[in-house]
């Protein structure tokens, strides 16, 4: 019974974590806007979320006792994204120093991701409020 209340929260929680990972990724791109040879990365959010939530209820997760360990299933997400989930952004205007950060696009992605992060936060908040009013029972 309690599962049904928390399952929706699990999904949103996973989405929130992925949003924060993407936020960090874009922040790294913006930070390296002037680094020679830096290649901008991005993630396909839909695919990554699908991959992350499909392994959500698995009971056979590996225990990790160190930050460097690679967990399996849902535990793998907290240890950082697998490198294969990340894609390379192709630059529309190549630079002489082989840097592929497109600042306009990164700024747009950053704002977009920030808003979607807040949206996910609101989803969780309203979910919690719904559960609370159900528990309170007046």
């Amino acid at each position: 019974m309690l599962n049904r209340l928390t399952d929706a929260l699990d999904f949103q929680g996973q989405a929130l974590q992925l949003r924060s990972e993407r936020q960090r990724l874009i922040a790294s791109n913006i930070a390296n806007a002037d680094t020679p040879g830096y290649v901008a990365r991005d993630m396909d959010f839909a695919k990554t979320l699908q991959a992350a939530t499909s392994t959500l209820p698995s009971a056979s997760t590996l225990a990790t006792s160190h930050a460097g360990h690679i967990g399996a299933g849902a535990a793998g997400l907290s240890g950082g994204l697998a490198g294969s989930a990340l894609t390379y952004a192709t630059s529309s205007q190549p630079n002489l120093d082989r840097n592929t950060v497109d600042m306009d696009r990164e700024r747009a992605s950053f704002a977009d991701n920030a808003i979607k992060y807040e949206a996910t936060l609101r989803f969780i908040n309203s979910n919690v409020r719904t559960s609370l009013s159900a528990i309170t029972g007046q």
């Binding site: 960090r24 790294s28 930070a31 806007a33 002037d34 680094t35 930050a67």
Partner: protein
């Protein structure tokens, strides 16, 4: 809390950019220097950025900060002015000034300050998102 390392990423970038701004300031200040402490004309300095991984795991590409790897001196010969009465004039009456190109330095300065602002904005956004995350469920 992967969002917390955004402060490390953007902070390292802001620090690297401020170092670049520092170098630009010293170049501009010495644009008309005839001789430095070693008796030679001042040589323009240039910073080189390098990506620095600040993630928890060794090769986590989602948290890439920046650091200044080297500061190189521009080896092009300085500006020579014929002025036999100058105390630093050589045997042929030429005075060697520094090789700072003021236009180049101004462009460098604007680029550094814009990148600095970008990183500050990233940190501000991350901060407001984190503050909202703290209030989650209330």
């Amino acid at each position: 809390m992967s969002m917390l390392s955004i402060f490390n990423v953007s902070g390292s970038a802001a620090s690297a950019q401020s170092q670049r701004l520092n170098v630009v300031a010293s170049n501009l200040a010495n644009a008309d220097t005839v001789a430095g402490p070693n008796g030679q004309a001042y040589k323009a300095r240039q910073v080189t950025f390098q990506t620095e991984l600040v993630g928890q795991t060794a090769n986590d590409p989602t948290a890439a900060g920046v650091r200044v790897s080297t500061i190189t001196e521009d080896q092009t010969p300085g500006r020579k002015v014929h002025d036999p009465k100058h105390p630093s004039a050589d045997a042929e009456g030429y005075v060697t000034y520094s090789n700072v190109n003021a236009v180049e330095e101004m462009v460098n300065m604007i680029s550094a300050s814009r990148s600095y602002q970008n990183n500050l904005e990233v940190m501000n956004t991350a901060k407001s998102l984190l503050l909202k995350t703290i209030q989650l469920g209330s």
